[in-house]
Symmetry: C2
Amino acid sequence: MAERSYAIIGTGALGGFYGARLAKAGLDVHFLLHSDYRHVRDHGLAVDSVEGDFTLPDVHAYGHAADMPRCDVVCLCLKTTANGLLGKLLTPVVADDGVVLVLQNGLGIEEQVAGIVGPGRVMAGLCFLCSNKVGPGHICHLDYGYVTLADYAAKGRACGVTERMRAVGGDFEAAGIPVRYAEDLPLARWQKLIWNVPFNGLSVVLRTSTDRIMANEHTRRLAEELMREIAAAANASAGRIIDDGFLRGQLRDTEKMAPYRPSMLLDCEAGRPMEVEAIFGAPLRAARQAHCPTPRLETLYQLLKHIDSGRGA
Amino acid sequence: MAERSYAIIGTGALGGFYGARLAKAGLDVHFLLHSDYRHVRDHGLAVDSVEGDFTLPDVHAYGHAADMPRCDVVCLCLKTTANGLLGKLLTPVVADDGVVLVLQNGLGIEEQVAGIVGPGRVMAGLCFLCSNKVGPGHICHLDYGYVTLADYAAKGRACGVTERMRAVGGDFEAAGIPVRYAEDLPLARWQKLIWNVPFNGLSVVLRTSTDRIMANEHTRRLAEELMREIAAAANASAGRIIDDGFLRGQLRDTEKMAPYRPSMLLDCEAGRPMEVEAIFGAPLRAARQAHCPTPRLETLYQLLKHIDSGRGA
């Protein structure tokens, strides 16, 4: 991989932002679009960002994966609710010695992608990004943006920091995207759930922001108890230890954050399908298989399934 | 108690309905009012009922408990959220050989009333009534109305069907109010929670009616799991057995019911305080004291406390 080419599968709030940054840095980036295809083909992408606005009037835009060139790094940026399409979307786009970079939320997606492209062609990036799509080909980047890269191996093995992580990380950094490296993908995924489960879930059920959840003694305690269930599930199902210090740190950081409306709450309010299965269903099933009781996670999952179905999803 | 006099403490949707029925049947009924006092003193009570509308232009209305005569049967019809006032409201009104009839929802209220008027002067009525207050002194009775009477004794003892239960029951029946008799008050209270906890709680959290909760496989299962936790708590904390047949019957009945919006949902939507402590907090504390885990009940309690506090309660 000397000069890596990039594909962006799903040019929305996340894929549009990272892809535009990579393209702006001079990399060869190919964007798969659905509803915005014609607009972006004709007018390119526009990014309003806290780090400086920019436009890319001319980008490689595609309406079908089959029309795209094979790329070295295929960034998977769809909502997980569209992952039924992965076989059709990934197979024609990944180069033989390329890799799919899973930039989605949730547990178990790398396994699914490995089943399509082979276990040697998967890696992951855990994104901490606050951005919205505000119009066709128009992304608004509100805050944050760093990506934690981790490599994937079958059977839940940790890979350490690999060559290709550093190569992709170098491209991201050249594009102004802060990068961290995680040696153990399953641990990183479970650690991310420690925050995502309570704060995405409770924000949707209560239609409120993180500061309100933390300000009420009852929901603050519920958030902490959910974190403990996730930590227990990580240990029981994947043998990963997440200690109390990590949990306390997450609570402390959330308390210090500006009032934040998690992406799942924005999806809910906009009537879009929510990533209930990837973020709640997958860890719940992992815990069940390991005979680890997670009644609060299950309750939250059941409430979210009700809310999601009521919205026609 | 030959000719029993009645006091209605709290002339709202419930007290106004039952009190008006008793007064219409010719009984001596005295109504305590707060915001509606002047209106009812001057214009009486009006009841729109599925069983026939009626008005009582002239009723015994009082703005203060201290102005009321001592009565044989003092019906406690306030929302439990006002129970901080019970000492002031009950003491001047109960006759020496009178009784407080607790018509409120929830666990532990008879104990509280016994602490004020003495354990020999408490009995309970579990109401299954669908009514609203639609204006000053104006009650709309939508459906149901039966009362399950049970007598109270200290230390959670069952009393059987007592003389005074039959006496009060006779008055209610003469007023057209269907009556049932329960031999064991703690069992009756826990049985009522089997329905109230899942359906009042989930209807508020999801802002939906009972039919929607039952129609979604996830929340139907959650309702059933909540019922199991309440049954376990009844056994652990009070030694009362509520078997699976009872639970299945409650689920079946709820499925057959017309779409129903429980009273707590109506309170929530109207911005009134919700009876979270009486219906959720009290059984949760009883379960905890008995070392019986009820994580779903606790989660629901925490969510409801958040919702209730957010509404300024």
